[in-house]
Every structure is written in structure tokens, then in C-alpha cells.
């Protein structure tokens, strides 16, 4: 009797462990398949705004410029399953298309690159899904953060630099900001 219970116990333990691990692996594989639900015409079009301190929905984090004079428009998407998209900007009767890509390793962060638009302009943004070319979101924004700044004269404390003989050089100045604040 004791041996029988022992064998049943072992069998249950092994079965549960195998089922648990197997089930987990199955779910992992299912989860690793990209899910990009395509919005249909009946789905509401999202509003695009600048992201606040607590980003939610599809929002613009910032605009910037790069070497070649191109403009970057950086978005945060509400979740991993948000579809791949491209951006269309309407400005002074022009329609400019921006190519958008997910930031590698950070799939909710998306960066769009295209023609530069001057600071202070109001632009109409439209976000279209790449796969089905549906309008996902639209909004109107003033390009406020974008700037290749003009030189400003700022008085600074003169500190002698230390040669970077190593990745972390010797100390030159005391910093008042606490370590591990």
C-alpha cells in the first residue's frame, strides 16, 4: 500500500512538473508571435498629443533634428501590440511622409524621420498602419521642442580638465549632488 502511494506521488509530481514547464513553454511560444491587430474603420481614431509626465495612449515624446537636417518625431505607443505605422505631416498645404521604426530593444518607443519643419509651426499629424494603411491616430501640434540652438553665452566656473587616460579619470571637482539619493 505504502509503495503504491509512493509511486502515485512520484507520478503526480513528475506529471505536474512536466505539464507546468510544457505549458509555460507553449505560452512563451504563443506570446513570442507578433500580434498586430489592424484597426478597422469602425474603431475610433486616437488623438495625438504631447506626452505628459505620465505618458498614456499614443503620444509624441519629443521632436529633434539630426546631422543631415532631418527631423525626428518620437512617439510612445500604448502597448507592445500597437501596429507598425508611418507618419504623415500636413503643413502649409504640403504633405510629408515620415518613415517610422521601433527603437531596437524598446518596442513601445517609435522614432519617425523625415523633412525638417521650422520651430513654432503648427502641424497636422496623421498616423497610418503600415499593413492596412488605415488611419490610426491624428492630431495637431506646435513644434516646440525642436531646435538647433543658437549659441548662448553662459558664465561657467573654470575647472581644469583631467586627461582621459582611463575610462574613469581622477577627481577634479567635488559634486554636491548626493550619491544614491
Amino acid at each position: 500500500m505504502k509503495q503504491k502511494r509512493f509511486a502515485i506521488g512520484i507520478a503526480i509530481f513528475v506529471a505536474l512538473t512536466i505539464m507546468g514547464v510544457w505549458g509555460y513553454k507553449v505560452f512563451i511560444n504563443a506570446n513570442s508571435k507578433p500580434a498586430h491587430p489592424s484597426p478597422t474603420g469602425s474603431q475610433p481614431v486616437l488623438d495625438i498629443t504631447y506626452c505628459g509626465a505620465d505618458p498614456s495612449g499614443l503620444c509624441v515624446v519629443s521632436c529633434g533634428v539630426e546631422t543631415e537636417g532631418g527631423m525626428l518625431v518620437n512617439f510612445i505607443t500604448p502597448g507592445l501590440s500597437f501596429p507598425d505605422f508611418y507618419l504623415k505631416i500636413r503643413w502649409h498645404g504640403n504633405e510629408i511622409v515620415y518613415e517610422c521604426q521601433r527603437v531596437e530593444g524598446f518596442p513601445t518607443s517609435i522614432s519617425c524621420v523625415g523633412e525638417q519643419i521650422p520651430l513654432g509651426e503648427t502641424i497636422e499629424l496623421e498616423v497610418f498602419s503600415k499593413t492596412e494603411d488605415h488611419l490610426i491616430a491624428k492630431g495637431s501640434l506646435v513644434i516646440s521642442s525642436l531646435a538647433l540652438p543658437t549659441p548662448i553665452t553662459v558664465s561657467t566656473t573654470k575647472i581644469s580638465p583631467t586627461p582621459p587616460s582611463q575610462a574613469t579619470p581622477t577627481a577634479t571637482a567635488v559634486n554636491s549632488y548626493p550619491s544614491y539619493p
Binding site: 507546468g20 515624446v61 519629443s62 530593444g105 561657467t156 574613469t168 577627481a171 577634479t172 559634486n175 550619491s179
Partner: protein, 603 residues
């Protein structure tokens, strides 16, 4: 409401990592639980056993990790750790099956309460992940880089002994190996696995405290109170995830387990128990905790010294006991004054006095009951606080190769671990009060029964109320050094800058020792993540560097630094100086919180 939605969001986005990590820890629990049951001869209640075993679940997981990394014979896959832990659990189960068993003792309600605290805590703590772009502060960048490196060793199936260590000066191998194995097992991203593992570790940390308090006081309420104090009484130790102190936090679980094992060994010292088994697990626990975080050996030493000293005090003649106690309390007061007088060290009390005054003062009020009913453990806890504070002043010169002046412990570690002796004191004090009220009730009637119930419910209620009203489960702004702009900048650097680019990043001094001696320079903004996320070499210089000086420009050219990265923290380089010299520094990427400048050197 947001907190619930954020918790659900993290669960839906990262559920496979959460489940995978929990499954591995559960297998670890399955391996250690029967062994502890055999050693304790089934003398523990169900809740005690759960609390004891969950503290030890990292032991088999860490041993399995070491085994997997040390062997170079078998091909490693994501399943390796599952297989090893299943074999260990099965072995432990067989061992326990062959022994004579007794039914589980004690009420089931405390067990249910502990399990509920554990899972509710995991859910709420996961909200941290919803607002963290990457693990926080500069330490995390280093952890990420090392784990990424170890993951490559893992995938190569080569023995760790045949591989070179990721960096020369480093001492958290146990944690990094564990995180690398977990990342491979859950097939997750390193940063997500670190973040989620950290939050699950935070949920585990308070649970083992129940065992010591319950076993000492026989009070389930006192044990639960201590667990809740450690969970939500103060913002430490949970706040340490903002500092990227993942190895230290992980070591806390094992430190508490080692304390529990040592306590049990002391309790069973006169019985015919499995002493050899206890000491073997004790040794293993000390080894694993030291491997996870070297300084945990010092904490264990402090706990041991406190216990022995308290035992000696308890055995002393009554006449000198009061004298010694007064001397000790006086010494502690002096220690507190010393710490408070140091600009660097006074932050050590912030979580417990400035922000956690309510619960610290309740513990102070309860401590006379603790000393009266449980003098040995109460004094041990008090002495541990004294020794922890003293260790901030004990110099260790040239003990570790590559390090200069150090102290036994640094401020952040002491700050994060003080919750442990304080929670013990709180639990003991509460049990002492309970005993006092019970005695009074027996002598004077039922009125005191009401007082006992009121004390019980009001203390537990106060902690829970504090958790829901004041407790911050989200990342602190203090330590977010990476913004979304930085991510875009890293992506841009990776795609646009030459592979041999040498990028200058901002650094700042690390000062956490009583002597105010700088321990060197550490990353001051997101630039510290460039080697890991943008695959380019970086060089650090102090954030106060003056880019307006000709000598600075000449030096940068001399050392062939080609780009400068300016992040968005207060300690990033002052890029107005860079913009004032467009002939020396040309903007190649401009985002509000991340800029890249090219240095125009004339050959």
C-alpha cells in the same frame, strides 16, 4: 485605480517573465522545503514552514545556476535550469518521503495570510516596471552589461571557468549568473528580467521574518506584523531598486535565511537533531549570499556577533546587566549623533526617521515589552543596529585588490538593511505587549481582551493604511537617468555613427563613506548605457568639465575622442559651452533631453 491598471499592464506585457521566474523559484522552494522539513522534524507550523522555505528557495536556484555555468559538457538551453531544479526537487521529495512524517501543525489562516501578502505584494510591486524604461541609476547599466556578457557565455555552453570574467573589479557574480540563467530560461530581455526579478525579490524579502518571530514568540500576529513592517513600514529596502541595488537586495533573502538556519541550529543545539545537515545548509547559505553580494558576509558576521554578545549578556549577573545595557544604549546614542553629524552618512536615517518616523516610534514604544518578554533576541536586534552603524566607521584598507580605502559597510547598504532588525524588534515588541495584555486579562478581566484586539487590529490596520496612502510603488525621479529621448539617441548612434567612435560621457564622484573619500567616478547620465545599448566605446570625464577651454578641446583631440554625449540629468555636461564653440563641437543629433556633438579636430 491607476496602480491596478499599471499592475495589469505589466502582467499582460511581461507575464511570461513573471510566470517563468515564479516557476523557477517554486522549483527552488520544492527542492529546499522537504530538506528543511526533515531537519526541523516537522516541528514547524504550516506558516512557519512556508516562511522558512521561501527564504531558502534561492539556495537550490543559485546552486543549479552554478552547476549549469560550471559544466561545459552539456549543451545549455533555456530549459537547463528547469531540468536541474526538477531533479533537485525530486531528490528532496524522495528524501522526505522516506522519513517518518507528522501532519502539518498549526492554523492555516496565517499561511493563507502570508501567501496573500506575497502575491498581492508582487502585483503592486510590478507597477514599478510600468514606469521604468530601463533598470534605474548607474549600477544597473553595469549589471546589464555583465549579464549580457554572461548570457553569451551561457549560449556558448562553455564552462565559466574557461571564460574570462566580464570585468576585473567585480563581486556580484552570484546575482549576475542567476539573472543570466533566468533571462535564458524565460527567453526575456535582460532589462525586463532584471526589473521583474527585482520586484519579485522585493516581495520575497519580508516573508522569512515571519519564521523567526513566530518561532520565538509563538504569536502568528506578531509574525505577520513583522512581515508587514518589513514590506510597507518604511520605504526601505524596496527603494533600493531605484539605486539598481539588485545584488544587495537578492542577498537580503539569503541573509535572512542564514539567520533563520542559525537560529534553528541554536534552538536545536541540545537535541539529537540533524545538526550536520543544519550546519551544511548554514555553510552553503553563507557561501551563496557572499557570492551574490560579498558584503553580506559582514552582515552575517554582525548578526552572529550580536547573538553571541546578547547571549553573554543574558547569562551575566543581574547587577551588571543593567550597566551593560546602559553602556550599550549610550554607545548607540553616540553612534547616532556621529552618523547625524556626517553629511554623507546622515541619509542613513532618512527612511526610518525623516520619512518613517511613525513606525520607528511605535517600535521604540514597543521595545520595552520586547526586552521584557524576549530579552535575548531583542538585545540581539538592538546590538545589530549598533554594529551596523559602527561598521560605517570601521576602515578596511587594501583588503580587496584594486580598492583603496573602504569601510566595512557603506551608507546605502546600511540604510537598506536597517529594516531587518527594526522589523524583528517590532514583532517581538508586539508579542511582548500581547503577552502582557493576556496576563493582565487573566488577572483583571475581559476589558484587556478588548485592548489586545484593538492593539492588534490598529497596528496591522495602520501599516496597511500607510501602504495604500503613503507608499510609493513607482520609480523615484531621483534615479531615472534614461529618458525616451536617450533611447532614440542610442538607436540613432547605433545606426549612424562609425563603429570605432569614441564617445565622451559625463561622470560624477561616488561618495558613500564616512571619510567623505571619493570611491571613484560613476556614470552621471544615460551615457553610461551607450556601450550596452548603442554598442560604442565610451570614456568618462567629470560633469564639471569646462568645454570652453582650449586645453579641454586639445585634450579631447589628443585622446581621439570623436563625439560627446549629453543626457538630460542635472549631472550631464553643460552643453551651452559646447554650443558656444561651433568651430570645435558640431551638433549631430539634437533632442530635448539627449544631444550628440561631434568634435571637429584638425589633424
Amino acid at each position: 485605480m491607476n496602480i491596478l491598471l499599471d499592475g495589469l499592464l505589466v502582467l499582460s506585457n511581461h507575464w511570461h517573465i513573471v510566470v517563468g521566474v515564479l516557476l523557477i523559484l517554486l522549483l527552488g522552494y520544492g527542492a529546499v522545503s522537504p530538506v528543511l522539513k526533515a531537519i526541523s522534524k516537522d516541528n514547524l507550523t504550516a506558516a512557519e514552514h512556508f516562511s522558512f522555505s521561501i527564504g531558502g528557495c534561492l539556495l537550490p536556484v543559485s546552486l543549479g545556476t552554478l552547476f549549469i555555468f560550471s559544466q561545459g559538457v552539456f549543451h545549455r538551453t533555456g530549459m537547463s535550469i528547469f531540468i536541474v531544479l526538477t531533479i533537485m526537487s525530486l531528490g528532496a521529495f524522495l528524501l522526505h518521503y522516506r522519513m517518518k512524517k507528522t501532519p502539518v501543525q498549526g492554523p492555516k489562516l496565517p499561511l493563507l495570510a502570508l501567501i496573500s501578502i506575497f502575491f498581492v505584494s508582487i502585483f503592486f510591486r510590478l507597477t514599478f516596471v510600468s514606469k521604468a524604461i530601463v533598470p534605474l541609476y548607474f549600477d544597473s547599466a553595469e549589471h546589464y552589461r555583465i549579464i549580457q556578457n554572461l548570457l553569451e557565455v551561457y549560449k556558448s555552453s562553455e564552462s565559466i571557468f574557461r571564460s574570462s570574467l566580464p570585468v576585473s573589479r567585480y563581486y556580484h557574480l552570484g546575482f549576475h549568473l542567476l539573472a543570466a540563467v533566468l533571462t535564458a530560461a524565460v527567453q526575456g530581455d535582460v532589462k525586463d528580467t532584471i526589473l521583474i526579478l527585482g520586484q519579485i525579490i522585493l516581495a520575497i524579502i519580508p516573508i522569512p521574518i515571519f519564521f523567526i518571530i513566530r518561532h520565538e514568540t509563538k504569536s502568528d500576529n506578531a509574525g505577520l506584523l513583522a512581515v508587514l513592517l518589513a514590506s510597507f513600514g518604511w520605504y526601505m529596502p524596496a527603494y533600493a531598486v531605484n539605486w539598481g541595488k539588485y545584488p544587495a537586495l537578492t542577498s537580503l533573502v539569503v541573509i535572512q535565511f542564514v539567520s533563520s538556519i542559525a537560529y534553528i541550529a541554536f534552538q536545536y543545539r541540545n537535541g539529537p537533531s540533524k545538526q550536520w545537515g543544519l550546519f551544511a545548509i548554514l555553510g552553503l547559505g553563507i557561501f551563496i549570499s557572499s557570492l551574490i553580494h560579498t558584503r553580506s558576509a559582514i552582515i552575517i558576521g554582525i548578526a552572529f556577533a550580536s547573538w553571541i554578545a546578547a547571549k553573554w549578556w543574558c547569562n551575566s549577573p543581574k547587577s551588571i546587566r543593567s550597566l551593560i545595557l546602559c553602556l550599550m544604549l549610550g554607545g548607540m546614542l553616540i553612534g547616532v549623533i556621529f552618523v547625524q553629524s556626517s553629511d554623507i552618512l546622515k541619509a542613513v536615517f532618512d527612511p526610518y526617521i525623516r520619512n518613517g518616523f511613525l513606525f520607528t516610534s511605535i517600535i521604540l514604544l514597543l521595545s520595552p515589552f520586547a526586552f521584557k518578554a524576549f530579552p535575548h533576541m531583542a538585545l540581539s536586534s538592538t546590538l545589530a543596529i549598533f554594529f551596523l552603524l559602527s561598521s560605517l566607521f570601521v576602515p578596511v584598507v587594501r583588503l580587496l585588490p584594486g580598492y583603496g580605502y573602504l569601510t566595512l559597510l557603506d551608507r546605502p547598504f546600511v540604510e537598506m538593511i536597517l529594516y531587518f532588525p527594526l522589523s524583528l524588534l517590532g514583532g517581538l515588541g508586539y508579542a511582548g505587549l500581547e503577552q502582557y495584555l493576556l496576563d493582565t486579562q487573566q488577572k483583571r478581566g475581559n476589558f484587556y481582551k478588548g485592548v489586545r484586539i484593538l492593539a492588534n487590529s490598529s497596528l496591522l490596520g495602520l501599516i496597511l493604511l500607510n501602504a495604500f496612502v503613503n507608499y510609493n510603488f513607482y520609480p523615484s525621479d531621483c534615479c531615472k537617468i534614461v529618458s525616451y529621448d536617450d533611447l532614440v539617441a542610442f538607436d540613432w548612434i547605433d545606426k549612424n555613427l562609425p563603429l570605432d567612435s569614441r564617445i565622451l560621457v559625463s561622470t560624477t564622484e561616488l561618495r558613500v563613506l564616512a571619510s567623505n573619500v571619493s570611491e571613484g567616478y560613476v556614470g552621471a547620465d544615460a551615457g553610461i548605457w551607450i556601450p550596452s545599448l548603442a554598442n560604442r566605446q565610451t570614456f568618462g570625464l567629470p560633469d564639471t568639465l569646462d568645454f570652453g577651454q582650449q586645453s579641454t578641446f586639445d585634450m579631447l583631440c589628443k585622446y581621439e575622442i570623436t563625439y560627446i554625449y549629453v543626457g538630460g540629468t542635472k549631472q550631464s555636461f553643460d552643453d551651452s559651452q559646447l554650443r558656444n564653440h561651433p568651430d570645435w563641437y558640431q551638433t549631430v543629433l539634437f533632442l530635448p533631453k539627449a544631444r550628440v556633438y561631434e568634435i571637429i579636430c584638425i589633424p
